[in-house]
Symmetry: C3
Subunit: 144 residues, 3 copies
């Protein structure tokens, strides 16, 4: 396994989030990984924003996503009277906090040419703003 065949690739996925909630982009991720011709390696995901997150959650029962949002909505109060940063509305500061409690980057090993997610795992953009947003997720893969 000497590294003569190592290679890397990068791209940007643009995700159109329909306001607060989850957008499953597992298919787009796997399509891009498959197209790079790397059988063994690791893929890095990174979101270039401070009001949305990357999250891995169950891919089967949509109630999981509903309950996740119920919990986060209860944990991080929109428009909390103690918050100073409120230029863009009640969802401004709460979005930054939600992002800090979840993930800005993820790393997934690549096995047999695919991001090696477990059978119940999907990758979501978790949008925290109320309004529809256009979000950039960087992908980087290295391997051979």
């Amino acid at each position: 396994m000497l590294g003569f065949m190592f290679k890397q690739a990068q791209t940007t996925l643009t995700i159109h989030a329909q306001g607060r909630g989850f957008t499953n982009f597992t298919r787009e991720l796997q399509s891009w990984v498959a197209a790079q011709g790397i059988q063994t390696g690791v893929v890095t995901l990174f979101v270039q924003h401070t009001s949305c997150s990357l999250i891995i959650q169950e891919n089967a029962d949509p109630d999981v996503l509903t309950d996740m949002e119920t919990f986060m909505n209860d944990l991080v109060q929109d428009g909390h009277p103690d918050f100073l940063h409120r230029d863009e509305g009640d969802d401004d500061m709460s979005a930054h906090i939600r992002m800090a409690l979840t993930n800005v980057s993820l790393n997934i090993p690549v096995i047999h040419g695919k991001a090696a997610l477990g059978i119940w795992q999907a990758v979501y953009l978790y949008e925290h703003r109320y309004m529809p947003m256009r979000r950039q997720v960087l992908l980087h893969i290295v391997g051979e």
Copy 2:
């Protein structure tokens, strides 16, 4: 430091979690890293599940783990009446939320052939289900 000697390796660690709580697998991680013959690089850990987490915590006082669980148990109510997803019991949805608030992947630089943890750091699988579970943690290392 041209990359003629770059190599990578992957494996799956199987962790037998004894129900909710922490399993320290630092020794298994370091043994595998040491066996790959890579002095300088980076190791990625990824757990293929949605009801347990990877977490780095103190390795000295077991009270830290007890208090961490006390906190999480209070933060994420098992069997919360507002949760819709409850097919597998009171710890079903709470496990998904605990996982979202902690980590599914970790990255640790490799220095002198070891994952470069700080002296107080250990790597744990944090199981969120009540029942004993068999969990898969993927390891990927790249370096030279």
Copy 3:
């Protein structure tokens, strides 16, 4: 893009945290990345402690950091009477919990010789102890 030119580098940034709060080290990160001569790749950040975190947050309005701390202070009670681990004071166990809820490692793609942060993103060390602390952040870059 065959990997004949792949290289990697590592360093340790020492960050002097002035007690609980945020230290922006984006400039130090970008300076080091730029000096490695890697145009395309990925940089890993890893903090070797269990009482501080790495966090990406907004770089514009300092109120965001104030509000983030207001939230965390309310979420994780210092000196909670249920905590057993209190050897080093009221901020001992709460620091470990804050760290578990945020990040110990981050991965950022490198594009055109820079860590590809979004225009509103900065990288902070988030110190959770009251006292000034000297913290070690490991950096690892691989690419070409």
